[in-house]
């Protein structure tokens, strides 16, 4: 008896109950009730996903629910992995959200939409027909949009972010609609089963078009450059529990869509699909993390890091497509397993980091790293949790991000065995991109942790900070436990990953990718072994033994405090500390050509003499260059086209009738010529 069906039904019922609670209950009781229901939705999703990962299958067809097409649902191990990830993040975000209710976030609209959004997150991967998928996909986009603009009355940038998100997510929907409509029209059916069966009959041109459009659409959801522009706007401006859901759960569904379409439905393609995806992922990873390294807004930094991590996932997916095209099934399976593991790891640490950033925002009211600092003594638990998440994001052992990046590197390093000049050039560049993004991620998160939480407060907002409510800490604690588990015993996931990869139709049938003895992770087809638990234990043992040795040598073992060295010039003040901007200055200079920062020096001389300076104003901004160079010209062009089109509509009825007549004649002529 499958547990998936009842669990999904429970998720739906709980989501409805949560929305009803959000609408009906008084404000005081609302957050707790809605949070409990949303957490229930997540837990049900987790149950369904884990059952699917254990090998259960489930499918249902509800022909009467939706007119014309009906609703088709199916869950295999691949969708199970994403359902489980979304469910887990939802549980943590829901518990967190019970405490995160300041500034009108306990309002009726927000609380009623939240369970709905959570429900769409866990149900999008269950869709098994084009119409069902598109419906749920759009429902997810709309509900998240409503949540993004929740605080639009308080801050003006929220409105702008909402507009960007609304436009870009719908452009993505249009691309997806074209891709899937074309696919189902040519394949002769709109259920995924029909698509799978018909994929072989498609002409190469149609397959290529479907794949490229799907890559653009799902890539934009995953924050791939250059379609990432909405992500660093919408994710920071959303309420932090919604940021957790969006950045740790929703973006993953972009990766899910790509894997489902590329591997399962289209069953792989020519090599250039893989090369294109790897190149896209590499550019996204490096561009995202360079922007994160120079960002001074804590949540914007995290949002760019999301873009980076999804870029790494895309590298894995692309490498798998490439190896699949060359019939290196074991390599393809390994690369895809690495990508999936990175999805899981990224979800765990990014939910934790956004939660901690939300705590900082909750306590200080600001996200600007330049005026934060000194939070460690005031918010010890939040600082420790952020440090744990940052360790994962830096991809250093014993963090969880390291495990999946190690696996990804192994897949690429062993992948050089696959022949081809393009492989020989592209794979090393992809490895370099992963390495550079790992190095810059270390710089970015050292900055976030060291400047944002350590040292002394740089502003009065940070001085007044107090620790967050228990519910928020509990939500983050769940993520932290997940991070620790994933970091220390990644081997426990190896069977689940194997099933998820097999469900996507990659790899040899029944072949294992990873051998997990629980304590260490081994590659099955290649030499490679990682024992993260032993590394962590060895580090801890040495770090514990060293002080004992040191203490035995010391003559005066009592530790005392001494003031900081002040160069003999009086106690150092907070203004002398390095800020996030100054920390990132060398990196910004190194990547000058990529970032193109804008500097503005404004010197005001005194009235009497031009040589005496009264005031110097120095301003520097690092705008998103792609946004500037790519989007603004397009927007201006559209605005100009709109202005020009006004002349067409002069108000004269005769003219409008003329338009209609001309259009009809042209259409008939065209038909006559083509027929």
């Amino acid at each position: 008896m499958s547990a998936i069906g009842p669990a999904l039904a429970a998720a739906g019922a709980l989501a409805a109950a949560g929305s009803a609670c959000g609408l009906a209950l008084p404000e005081r009781a609302r957050p707790a009730a809605v949070g409990a229901c949303t957490a229930g939705v997540g837990a049900a999703g987790l149950v369904a996903g884990v059952s699917a990962l254990r090998g259960q299958l489930w499918s249902a067809s509800l022909p009467d629910l939706l007119p014309l097409a009906g609703v088709h649902l199916a869950v295999d191990a691949l969708s199970g992995l994403f359902i489980a990830v979304c469910g887990g993040v939802t549980v943590a975000a829901a518990v967190y959200g019970i405490g995160y209710t300041r500034h009108g976030l306990a309002g009726r609209n927000v609380q009623a939409v939240l369970p709905l959004f959570a429900w769409t997150l866990v149900t999008v991967p269950t869709a098994a027909s084009v119409s069902t998928f598109l419906l749920l996909w759009e429902l997810m986009a709309l509900s998240s949009l409503l949540l993004v603009v929740a605080e639009h009355r308080r801050r003006a940038p929220v409105r702008e972010a909402g507009l960007w998100y609304a436009v870009m997510t719908h452009l993505g929907l249009v691309l997806l609609l074209i891709a899937l409509a074309l696919f189902s029209a040519r394949a002769g059916g709109e259920t995924f089963t029909a698509l799978r069966a018909g994929a072989g009959r498609l002409s190469p041109a149609v397959r290529d078009t479907v794949f490229v459009l799907a890559l653009a659409a799902f890539g934009s959801k995953a924050g791939a450059v250059p379609l990432h522009a909405w992500l660093p706007r919408a994710h920071p401006e959303a309420p932090s529990n919604v940021s957790m859901l969006m950045s740790a759960a929703m973006v993953n569904l972009g990766a899910y869509g790509l894997i489902r379409t590329g591997f399962d439905l289209l069953d792989g393609g020519p090599r250039w699909w893989g090369l294109l995806t790897v190149a896209l992922g590499a550019v996204t990873a490096v561009y995202g993390i360079v922007q994160a390294a120079v960002a001074t807004d804590l949540k914007r930094l995290l949002a760019y890091s999301t873009s980076e991590n999804l870029g790494l996932v895309l590298i894995g997916v692309g490498a798998a497509l490439l190896f699949d095209a060359d019939h290196h099934d074991e390599l393809a399976a390994l690369a895809l397993a690495a990508a999936l593991l990175h999805v899981v790891n990224h979800a765990a640490f990014k939910a934790l980091l956004f939660g901690a950033a939300g705590s900082v925002l909750h306590a200080t009211g600001t996200r600007d790293l330049d005026i934060l600092g000194g939070l460690r003594p005031r918010m010890p638990a939040t600082t420790a949790l952020f440090a744990l998440g940052a360790l994962g994001a830096m991809a250093l052992p014993p963090g969880n991000g390291f495990v999946s990046e190690w696996l990804l590197l192994q897949a690429l390093i062993h992948g050089l065995a696959a022949p081809g000049v393009t492989t020989a050039v592209l794979l090393p560049v992809a490895i370099a991109a992963i390495a550079l993004s790992a190095g810059l991620a270390a710089a970015a998160f050292v900055k976030a942790l060291g400047v944002g939480f350590f040292a002394r407060p740089r502003g009065s907002a940070a001085q007044r900070a107090v620790e967050s409510p228990r519910a928020m800490l509990a939500g983050m604690g769940l993520c932290a436990a997940a991070c620790a588990g994933l970091a220390l015993v990644p081997g426990t996931l190896s069977d689940a990953l194997g099933r998820a990869v097999a469900a996507s139709g990659t790899g040899t049938v029944g072949g294992r990718i990873l051998v997990g003895g629980g304590l260490d992770l081994r590659l099955a087809g290649f030499t490679g072994r990682l024992a993260s638990l032993w590394i962590a234990l060895a580090l801890a043992a040495v770090a514990a033994a060293v002080p004992a040795v040191v203490r035995s040598r010391a003559r005066a073992p009592r530790r005392s405090d001494a003031p900081l060295w002040d160069c003999g010039a009086g106690a150092p003040t907070a203004r002398m500390e390095y800020t996030a901007t100054s920390f990132a200055e060398p990196l910004q200079r190194v990547f000058d050509d990529v970032l193109a920062p804008e500097q503005d020096v404004d010197v005001t001389p005194v009235r009497e003499s031009a040589y005496l300076v009264e005031r110097v104003r120095y301003q520097r901004r690092v705008p998103d260059r792609i946004e500037h160079r790519l989007y603004l010209p397009v927007l201006q062009l559209l605005a100009r086209a709109g202005q020009a089109a006004r002349r067409l509509a002069g108000g004269s009825v005769h003219r409008y009738l003329g338009y209609g007549f001309t259009a009809l004649v042209v259409l008939l002529l065209a038909l006559a010529v083509t027929r």
Binding site: L416, A442, F454, A540, V550, D561
Partner: protein, 322 residues
């Protein structure tokens, strides 16, 4: 030969190589300083000076800078712990040890980066301008070093078909022709440049300066004193020793015990000390003729070394695979 004895010799090899690294690291630093002093026409304090410094510092009272937290306190421990774990993992003396299965080159690189990160966090934790400056510069260099490092790892792992250090080293011992290929040479040069940057030697950083315009590593650790400072110094010396040992193991692997036997192990340990001392002496002699380059010229150096590593990888493909 029974399995127990293999394990015994392997265990002894790991313990011996870690002990040799700990005992030898201060002497290596002393030797390098002494060589520099002699070449610069100074008498020098003798190679034992760093060891005496460590003993002196360890006996002092531990002092914490006011307002600092666990990050400041833990950084020396993390630095030493990562260096020691790396010293145990890398097959410096023998390739068949109980930990050789875990001796993954990527793990080694990442552990060393963990030490760097913890020190940078400690620098920021003090909240002084010096600490922030050192941390900022160190992380910039560390971030740019990473691609070259992993590219060299990639180049080295191609002939062995694995990133496991024991496999790479024993493969090179049995097939020395691997090292003379363009791949091996290019990777060696790239890795050398990276080692210089990672350990804060000239021309990237000057370990003996305290001039604020030029320093990186010293700026981060300015607030440390007593036993903490001793650990920081020891950690830096350990990293240098381990990285030179790694270079020696990868590019001159002869003498490393690939079979089990006490005589082979003893010879391997003696050769290890000799190889690292020679490498250190060469590095010190080269440093005398180098000036520190500007911070913003460092990326050019690293980009050059990255190019070499990339060439190493592609060369290996075109020479062997095509």
């Amino acid at each position: 030969m029974s399995g127990d004895q293999v394990t015994l010799i392997g265990t002894v090899a790991v313990v011996a190589q870690v002990a040799l690294v700990i005992a030898g690291a201060p002497w290596l630093a002393g030797l390098m300083r002494q060589i520099r002093a002699r070449l610069e026409g100074r008498a020098g304090p003798g190679p034992g000076q760093p060891w005496r410094d460590l003993r002196k510092l360890l006996r002092k009272q531990p002092v914490t800078a006011t307002g600092t937290g666990p990050a400041f306190r833990a950084a020396p421990l993390v630095l030493v712990a990562t260096a020691l774990v790396v010293a145990a993992l890398v097959p410096l003396a023998a390739t068949r040890t109980p930990v050789s299965g875990h001796a993954d080159l990527i793990v080694v690189v990442a552990l060393l980066a963990l030490g760097t990160v913890s020190l940078a966090l400690a620098g920021l934790d003090t909240g002084t301008a010096f600490g922030g400056m050192g941390a900022s510069r160190e992380m910039t260099v560390a971030a740019l070093v990473e691609p070259t490092l992993l590219m060299s790892v990639f180049a080295l792992s191609i002939p062995a078909g694995s990133t496991n250090l024991a496999d790479i080293v024993s493969g090179a011992v049995h097939d020395p022709a691997r090292l003379a290929t363009p791949t091996g040479l290019l990777a060696a040069v790239a890795l050398l440049a990276v080692t210089v940057a990672e350990t804060g030697r000239l021309p990237v950083d000057n370990p003996s300066t305290h001039l604020e315009l030029t320093m990186m590593h010293e700026a981060m650790v300015l607030e440390y004193s007593g036993p903490d400072l001793a650990l920081i110094e020891l950690g830096a010396q350990l990293r240098l020793t381990v990285l030179l040992g790694l270079l020696a193991a990868l590019f001159t692997p002869w003498g490393i015990a690939t079979t089990d036997g006490w005589a082979a192990l003893l010879l391997a340990l003696a050769l290890l000390a000799l190889k690292v001392a020679v490498l250190g002496a060469l590095l010190a002699a080269a440093e005398v003729h180098l000036a520190k380059i500007r911070l913003f010229r460092v990326p050019e150096l690293l980009a050059g070394s990255f190019l070499l590593a990339l060439l190493a990888v592609t060369a290996s493909y075109f020479l062997t695979g095509a």
